[in-house]
């Protein structure tokens, strides 16, 4: 009589209408492609068929800077140095600073934040207050302060910017840990007698690492910009050229007017890289549903 007997199984849910499958999208892969290209070019620069970034390619009877040509894709600067290879070589310092600073921030801020979120109590209060103190300085002022008091080597600059990233990264790690520490699998681990260290490293870390990875990409972008700003103020790495220093070199009124490519080649490289990092980080954040981000 009743027709229900035949359809015991629940009807399959219509997926396409309600659950939109999440993808990273082609824009993400484009951005990743650009980042890989830049990092690859920067890492392999000495082995690529590039012109020497320090050599002066003077042409008899003509005054540099020379405009872009087949010989010099991005033109040359006031000293007739090839802007194309200078831009690629400039990426080296900027990227090293960017990635090592964020690695430092992830290591210190991440572990402090995770411990604060897990242990709670007075430790949490102290660490959270410390983060707030760090966040009360405008980042750039703090960076200028530290770099001016210490030396201006590559390590100091990376560490300085790394210190800046402790607080934002730490707060995110703390928030993520707080959420996961309430979950059943942590309780389960505790019931079977797991120690705190084990819970932190084996249960919580793998879950916190994912949102941290997304924020790391955004962080690298911010760090590259801060380094550029420091360079622009004449406070970045003393040796070697960075994108910031290259841009500064091209911004004298006379150079900018007669040879805008000297400033605009590194500006474009910097802009595209920062945008790619931002976009990739943004997509990852959406994909993994990371909320509560305050950089």
């Amino acid at each position: 009589m009743r027709s229900e007997g035949r359809t015991v199984d629940a009807p399959p849910e219509a997926p396409s209408e309600f659950v939109e499958e999440k993808t990273l999208g082609w824009g993400f892969w484009l951005a990743v492609g650009w980042i890989v290209t830049v990092v690859g070019a920067a890492a392999l620069a000495p082995y690529l068929p590039l012109k020497d970034p320090q050599e002066n390619f003077l042409i008899q009877g003509e005054r540099p800077p020379y405009s872009p040509s087949l010989e010099h894709f991005f033109g040359t600067d006031q000293d007739a140095r090839d802007m194309f290879s200078r831009t690629i070589y400039g990426a080296r310092v900027s990227l090293v600073v960017g990635f090592s600073a964020i690695a430092f921030g992830l290591l210190v801020g991440g572990s402090l934040g995770m411990m604060a979120g897990f242990l709670k109590g007075w430790f949490d209060r102290v660490v959270s207050f410390l983060f707030l103190v760090l966040l009360s300085f405008p980042a750039l002022v703090l960076a200028i302060l530290i770099t001016s008091l210490l030396s201006r080597g590559l390590q100091t600059i990376s560490m300085t910017i790394g210190i800046l990233s402790i607080a934002p990264v730490g707060r995110l790690a703390r928030a993520a840990t707080l959420v996961y520490a309430e979950r059943d699998f942590v309780m389960a681990a505790r019931t079977i007698g797991a120690k705190n260290t084990r819970i932190l490293l084996r249960e919580l870390l793998p879950n916190v690492v994912i949102p941290m990875g997304a924020i790391a990409l955004l962080g690298v972008a911010i760090v590259i910009v801060v380094e550029g700003a420091l360079a622009f103020l004449g406070l970045s790495v003393e040796k070697g050229s960075t994108w910031g220093k290259l841009i500064l070199n091209g911004t004298g009124t006379r150079v900018l007017e007669s040879a805008p490519w000297v400033a605009f080649a590194p500006i474009c490289a910097l802009f595209l890289t920062v945008m790619a990092l931002n976009y990739a980080g943004d997509r990852l954040r959406d994909y993994f549903d990371v909320k509560e981000l305050s950089l």
């Binding site: 207050f129 002022v141 302060l145 841009i247 091209g250 900018l256 910097l270 945008m275």
Partner: protein, 318 residues
């Protein structure tokens, strides 16, 4: 009431911590005596230099232990005396310098915020009301671009287009010009600071507006035949400003940081250039005063935003 007392205590504790950190780092990592006297500071053997050293130590209280110096400095600072500069003459006093430089930077940030809102509100409303068109996709990309462009790069780009090529703005800031001219000179630097801010506000406003536009009261208004423009600006805009208010304070802090770079590039003698100059010359009293003022402003601004926030949404207080 208890909530506010707690918050206020927190703000004061933060300020104390910031000042201690700055004071200590500059006194421990730097060498104040060297910055005042120059190379002779290490020479205690020559009697005449020793006299100078001891006089300087007395004048700047360098012979006292660090905590005592800190308390002295804090007492002076709170009563409005920011001390004497380390520069050879000690003139002008830090307070005078701050009085001269700070208003320019405040004007700059104020103009930037006004510009940012003036751009963001119409832009956000427009893009929320046409949320699927092709032009809107372009506007999303543009907003993303503005968020990603570093302020020093944007400064160079805007300077190149508007000052060098179009000649709409003067090439250098002229501090001796008349009041109105000085303010128009600030327009281009303010725009540099405003564009990224505008893009952030626009994105937030757009998201909130799209949610608001799906509410029943909008449907009611539409059913009553209220004109579209009026629905957008009179009915939907106000309840959608929540996120913008929240981010406003944070963004002002970011703009102060950006002002350092922008002022230096455009040659505006404001607090930003003062801080950069003072740091390069290791003129610590100036750095200390300005860092404290900026940090205080930043913390207080966020406190005010918190108050606004809890007035708009009383649930935050619990």
């Amino acid at each position: 009431m208890k909530y506010w007392t707690q918050r206020l205590t927190m703000v004061l504790a933060l300020m104390l911590a910031v000042s201690m950190l700055t004071f200590a780092s500059m006194n421990v990592l730097g060498d104040p005596l060297f910055n005042i006297l120059g190379p002779i500071s290490g020479d205690r053997k020559t009697p005449e230099n020793l006299v100078k050293i001891e006089a300087a130590e007395k004048q700047y209280y360098l012979d006292k232990p660090l905590p005592e110096r800190y308390v002295r400095w804090l007492g002076d600072f709170v009563t409005g005396d920011m001390g004497v500069r380390f520069a050879a003459t000690g003139q002008p006093p830090v307070t005078e310098l701050v009085k001269e430089r700070l208003p320019r930077s405040l004007w700059l940030v104020f103009m930037a915020q006004v510009l940012a809102l003036a751009i963001a509100v119409p832009w956000g409303v427009w893009s929320a009301s046409r949320s699927n068109s092709l032009a809107n996709k372009a506007s999303t990309v543009a907003a993303f671009g503005f968020v990603s462009v570093p302020n020093f790069a944007l400064a160079v780009i805007l300077y190149y287009i508007f000052a060098l090529k179009l000649g709409l703005f003067p090439l250098r800031y002229d501090a001796s010009a008349s009041f109105l001219t000085r303010k128009t000179q600030l327009l281009l630097p303010a725009l540099t600071l405003a564009l990224p801010g505008a893009a952030v506000y626009q994105r937030l406003l757009r998201t909130d507006l799209i949610t608001t536009l799906q509410e029943d009261f909008i449907l009611t208004a539409r059913a009553k035949g209220v004109p579209r423009r009026q629905i957008l600006f009179r009915h939907a805009l106000r309840p959608s400003l929540f996120s913008v208010v929240t981010i406003f304070g944070v963004n002002a802090g970011g703009m102060i940081g950006g002002a350092l770079v922008v002022e230096t590039f455009f040659g505006i003698p404001g607090a930003g250039t003062a801080i950069v100059e003072a740091i390069l010359r290791e003129d610590f009293p100036v750095v200390l005063a300005l860092v404290m003022i900026i940090a205080t402003g930043f913390v207080v601004l966020n406190f005010v935003v918190d108050i606004l926030y809890s007035i708009l949404d009383p649930r935050v207080r619990s």
